[in-house]
């Protein structure tokens, strides 16, 4: 299932985007502790493709997808 997310991100001078925190469906905000891997990937589960950020959030490894600046997560 696809969970659309509000994301707070840093844009560096070269145009690279790094997510800093995400806002969950119920309004809670979680900080992104670390970005482990960034690459283009498809999400068959949620339906879509884009840049996939493998991140550590609250001790868990999760994949955030940026599909043309629309962010989502797989559930």
């Amino acid at each position: 299932m696809k969970i659309p997310l509000k994301v707070n991100a840093d844009f560096d001078l070269s145009g690279k985007i790094m997510p800093r925190s995400i806002e969950w469906e119920d309004g809670r905000v979680f900080a992104v502790d670390r970005v482990i891997d960034v690459r283009r990937a498809a999400s068959l589960k949620a339906g879509g493709t884009g840049l996939r950020y493998i991140c550590r959030i609250c001790g868990r490894t999760v994949a955030l997808f940026n599909d043309e600046n629309k962010w989502f997560m797989e559930k």
Partner: protein, 415 residues
């Protein structure tokens, strides 16, 4: 010997839609035009629909008879163009010679890249296949061969998600037993003509005396003979080589049949505006116009005419099209679809010969300035910011924007 890949994205439009809609993935799915606007034909289908016999180009009602639970999705060309671009970005990592053949097919010439990549073409083909699947979520079939024609043939042999190799040493065993219709540019009509002289397989074609083929099919006979014998030498275009445009055209199937000359004029006006704007975008002018008419019994007619002065403005294109129409169409039946193409293109920057006796060329230059201003207005404020009053006579008939709606052009092998 060259190493050429042909990469074909399987069931392209349908695969992209299934990726974005996981909930329909296990049903027969087809991408189809809008039946209310009478664009109701199948544009693409997924593997499940294909197995049930749904074919591209058939009417929605025909497809639904074969696959009762068929899920229909409207086309989203912006998405397909984006996927096509992303796929090409992957291919460019392996060679600077990547040539598109439609949105979903590309040739890649690896000849020059193999030594620096320390790899072989089949391994690269498999890597590309895996990467497209992982990164874009759609599958591709790859043909690997020593020329473009056999590479394309290879990609059609095994689908989906497969690599097919047609090496020079074994091409006769692999290619020659195949039906002649599998060869690029052997359509239904050519295949029928070849069958009349007992040519049923590609091998039959290759073994036939080329003089017989030339007599029967003209220069095409010779070209097909070269193709069948693996002698196609056409290069894969480099990134920097822009293709030479030979014509620019737009067409539409109208929401209702065209009954009068005024109806035709209204639709041609929209098409001429789009064609002229695209001519200006490409910095070319046309010296001829071609019209294509299809009546409601699907009978088609195509006529063309040369123009004295090259132009890139809508008025002369429209007038020439209407002149052709009046000359050649006597209204045996109402019209279902019409197209308009600008042909015999020349560069726009060349000098214009003004006449001592009339001011047609000068008036054209003034008109050109006016239409360029309209282009700028539309760029800044949208297509509907400025429109012809005549378009309001029948907004349903004229309410389309061929330039931006979906500009997907047919590709030719001989560019």
């Amino acid at each position: 010997m060259r190493s050429i890949l042909h990469v074909d994205m399987n069931n392209f439009y349908a695969s992209v839609e299934c990726l974005y809609h996981p909930e329909i993935r296990n049903f027969p799915v087809a991408v189809a035009g809008d039946p209310l606007n009478r664009h109701g034909i199948i544009l693409a289908k997924n593997m499940i629909a294909k197995k049930l016999g749904v074919t591209t180009g058939e009417a929605i009602w025909e497809a639904k008879l074969k696959a009762p639970g068929l899920v229909l999705v409207p086309p989203d060309y912006k998405k397909y163009i984006r996927f096509s671009r992303m796929a090409r970005e992957i291919y460019y990592e392996y060679s600077d010679q990547v040539e598109a053949f439609g949105l979903d097919e590309n040739w890649i010439d690896l000849t020059g890249s193999l030594s620096c990549m320390h790899s072989d073409p089949v391994a690269i083909a498999d890597t590309i296949r895996r990467r497209v699947k992982e990164e874009l979520g759609v599958t591709v079939s790859v043909g690997v061969s020593f020329n473009k024609i056999f590479a394309k043939l290879g990609s059609d042999l095994k689908k989906p998600d497969a690599t097919t190799v047609i090496p020079f040493e074994h091409f006769k065993e692999i290619v020659w037993p195949l039906p002649v219709g599998d060869l690029l540019y052997v359509g239904r009509s050519t295949a029928r003509q070849l069958e009349l002289i007992a040519i049923n397989t590609i091998g039959d074609l290759a073994r036939t005396d080329v003089a017989i083929l030339r007599r029967r099919l003209g220069k095409w006979g010779e070209i097909l003979w070269f193709f069948a014998n693996g002698m196609d030498t056409s290069p894969v275009r480099k990134i920097s080589e822009s293709e030479q445009i030979k014509s620019i055209g737009n067409g539409t199937t109208c929401p209702r049949d065209l009954q009068t000359e005024q109806d035709v004029r209204l639709v041609f006006t929209v098409l001429a505006e789009s064609v002229a704007a695209r001519l200006r975008d490409c910095c070319v002018k046309c010296r001829g116009v071609q019209i294509f008419l299809r009546d409601n019994s699907l009978f088609t007619l195509s006529r063309q005419k040369q123009m004295e002065i090259p132009c890139c403005t809508s008025a002369p294109i429209l007038e020439t099209a209407m002149e052709l129409f009046r000359q050649h169409y006597r209204w045996p039946k109402p019209l279902r679809s019409v197209s308009l193409s600008a042909i015999y293109l020349v560069t726009a920057s060349r000098h214009v010969q003004l006449s001592l006796f009339d001011d047609t060329a000068e008036r054209l230059l003034v008109q050109e300035q006016l239409e360029k201003t309209i282009d700028k207005l539309r760029d800044r404020f949208g297509h509907d910011a400025i429109t012809r009053a005549s378009a309001l006579l029948d907004p349903k008939l004229t309410g389309f924007n061929p330039k931006e709606d979906h500009t997907i052009h047919p590709y030719s092998y001989f560019r």
